[in-house]
């Protein structure tokens, strides 16, 4: 049935952190929540898990309102930055404690992942380095086996090798025991092929929400001599242009696959990261122009 978020708004003083957010997270989907720092990703996760009360709107999980319903909230696990374990608790003990709260917690898998990542389960949680503290929280998230998993910047502080190991462990978990995963990150390129659905959040509002494939359909970058590129893109939906001397490259949205490309120009599929950056730049420009108009 999934998670239905409707008309969620949340203010912190004069800052509007979420603006009438509507979002549906379907069962067995792998979602990427993409946004710059301060866009509202963590706030949205905190509202979904009822750690923050929204000013208005509602969250439903499998049809039931989450507000103060522990049974409903038990279906969601959020991996964030905080630890909720007693200070002097050891990793292995924390795994045992987790199985009490999450009956489906796979302790054997948690110990296996701990070995793979080289985490010392006899160590106190608070004595773990930043990277290993992240790995510890990530292992918990991958093993609780709740139907919904929210991962807030899960690879923060992880080196390249550990990030790769994490993505592989996540894909394996998702493929073997289907669940709904939402992963918030600003390392877009690393998750581009992993997520099936991209949700772009900016300034507390959702500006794109589509399957990754659909989002990038018709998104091409056209490059070549400046005047030739300009001729070709005239009348088409140009999202961004970058110029290096006499060469220019334009990111087009909504270009049909069979449009012939003139000689001397090159056409390349836009990546999710290219698209995201172009989208953010465009929104920024729109903000600036609307500001100057109001002045």
């Amino acid at each position: 049935m999934g998670i239905e978020i409707s008309k969620i708004s949340k203010r912190f003083g004069s800052t509007c952190a979420l603006r009438e957010v509507d979002l549906e997270l379907k069962e067995q989907g792998l979602y990427g929540l993409l946004g710059n720092n301060g866009a509202g990703k963590t706030t949205l996760f905190n509202v979904i898990t009822n750690r923050l009360y929204p000013d208005s709107g509602s969250v439903r999980v499998d049809g039931a309102e989450t507000a103060d319903r522990d049974d409903v909230l038990g279906k969601i696990y959020m991996m964030g930055e905080e630890n909720y374990y007693p200070e002097d608790m050891k990793v292995r003990k924390a795994f045992e404690l987790t199985s009490l709260f999450y009956p489906a917690f796979d302790k054997a898998r948690a110990l296996e992942l701990s070995r793979q990542f080289g985490i010392d389960t006899k160590k106190k949680i608070t004595k773990l380095s930043t990277g290993y503290a992240s790995i510890f929280r990530m292992i918990l998230a991958l093993c609780v086996n709740t139907p919904y998993l929210l991962l807030d910047e899960p690879v923060l502080g992880l080196d390249a090798r550990h990030r790769d190991m994490f993505y592989k462990a996540l894909i394996e978990k998702f493929a073997e025991t289907p669940c709904t995963v939402v992963i918030s990150t600003h390392l877009i390129q690393e998750v581009a092929h992993i997520i099936g659905h991209a949700v772009v959040i900016r300034d507390g509002a959702i500006i794109k929400d589509a399957p990754t494939e659909t989002l990038l359909e018709g998104c091409w970058s056209i490059s070549g001599p400046r005047d030739k590129v300009a001729d070709f893109v005239r009348g088409k939906n140009a999202v961004e242009e970058s110029i290096i001397g006499g060469l220019s490259s334009v990111l087009l949205d909504g270009l049909a696959e069979d449009v012939p490309i003139p000689d001397g120009l090159e056409k390349q599929k836009a990546t999710l990261q290219d698209y995201f950056i172009a989208l953010m730049d465009k929104e920024e420009q729109r903000d600036e122009s609307s500001c100057s108009q109001s002045i």
């Binding site: 592989k168 894909i171 493929a175 073997e176 997520i195 099936g196 494939e213 390349q268 990546t271």
Partner: protein
Amino acid sequence: MIRYLNQERPIFLQIADMLKDAILSGAYPEDSQIPSITEFSVAYNINPATALKGVNLLVEEGLLFKKRGLGMFVASGARKQLIGQRKEGFYRDYIQPMIWEAKHLEITSGELLEMTERGMEEHGDRNQ
């Protein structure tokens, strides 16, 4: 057999190509089981649905078949079918660009034939 994925083509098509190469080279022999969707998606860091889409392309072409409860297998005759497919593309993908470049370099058809003979000899002319 693990190649890096590129940005130029959709990922599921690249997975399909990789599978075809593997069947052609004998890395995945006929009647043998291929790795699972989980293994492919983990190896390439891709969404399992994308891996499945690539595998399904080969199922549609009759190169792979599903054994219920067991997994995917390479069909018998798959290699021959692939060779047939590739031969059709050979003229367009290799001969035409070669002629094009040969013209640029002012290579005559006699010289071209000579080079082809030499190439075949150097590779042991296995198919003759």
